[in-house]
Symmetry: C2
Subunit: 212 residues, 2 copies
Amino acid sequence: MSSAPKPVTRRRAHTRQRLLDAAREVFAREGFGRSTVEQVCEAAGFTRGAFYSNFTSLDELFLEMWAQESAAMLSRLQDVAAVDAPKVSDVRSAVKRVLEALPVDTEWFQITAEFTAHAVRTPGLAQVMARREEAIQEALFPVIDRLLEQIGRKVTNRVALGRSLVAAYDGTLTQLAVEPGSRSALRHRVDLFTLLVESYSEPATRRRKFLL
Amino acid sequence: MSSAPKPVTRRRAHTRQRLLDAAREVFAREGFGRSTVEQVCEAAGFTRGAFYSNFTSLDELFLEMWAQESAAMLSRLQDVAAVDAPKVSDVRSAVKRVLEALPVDTEWFQITAEFTAHAVRTPGLAQVMARREEAIQEALFPVIDRLLEQIGRKVTNRVALGRSLVAAYDGTLTQLAVEPGSRSALRHRVDLFTLLVESYSEPATRRRKFLL
DNA sequence: GGCTGTCGATACACCGGTGTATCGAACAGT
DNA sequence: ACTGTTCGATACACCGGTGTATCGACAGCC
């Protein structure tokens, strides 16, 4: 169920990937709900025969696409705190770096938003989603730890921080998507993240602040 | 463009409303993208003739539906800070009261999420959406002011607070939708809102705290 | 380089939604 | 109660997507 058992030959693998890429474009342009197998095939330069030989439905294709994108996002995230990456000196710049690694991809926002809605109403898919969120948070923690360590802070409440960041990420992405190119929206996003990180972390070695 | 110029007779008003109610149900069940005019009409017990006599497209219907829902939400919100409503004594309980007035409506979340995605890719619709968001924030401010006044605080940065709250609202709603019935998710939501309100407000008459 | 089985193109029959034009019935105004 | 108007049902022509069954071609393997 999780990964694809299909690709047997090299030819097939190529076709699959082209279909996946094309689907991403079509979903972004038309919306998942309004997308058709036909459109995807046309965009990929194949016929419907090729599609049905690779997937049984658009849903199935969607899941594979989703898995690929999530993986890519995670790896970008991890690069931010890689050993050879430049160091950061304060919370704000750390936040900036992370957010820049996760570009405001309106296209992807649209797809995700729709898929989330779709998943919520499809029993089983919601669980897949929840697991993914979890996995992202899991992968996020080491990155945050490493960055905070560089500026001499440590996390006080992992769970709360993780949830807050994901919520803030989703929420602000929606705002950015609705008012594209808004400079102030971008700035505010950084503000919000900075506030969250500062609230749920404290100076590492020094004595603690007495309030909060 | 904003409100409906259509309903002339009583009959028409009834039909419109039944179509709207039916549409909400269909959108929730099928997803906005996969919904058809036909399905909506069937659910409402009308034929497509009735639909096209009332709306020119599903988009148009949705906007009216959204307007209604927003209005209902605003009025619930305003009741919270009504003159005869019980007073609050601290930020946390104020937040709780507000959030309880805005029930977690997964159905509505799905519809909104999908339509937002749709709106983003439809020039014009995005603007309408953005305006609505703005209006909600506008209406939110007096409520917040009143509640904060009851506990002796005042807002320091309206814009930032407004944006943050909306973002947090969207973001946490997504989480709640994905993991329905999660107690900790609900609690965390209160935490997050409390943090935001406290960060963007200060004690009103007393001397200021020296940090932040 | 030849054989074999996989893969994708082609063709077919079908379904369901679209939007419009027309007509009769219910309704409001007086 | 009468009458003109409005509203929604019906019918029509059309389009575009669906999924399957079949066939030819090419890739993979020796």
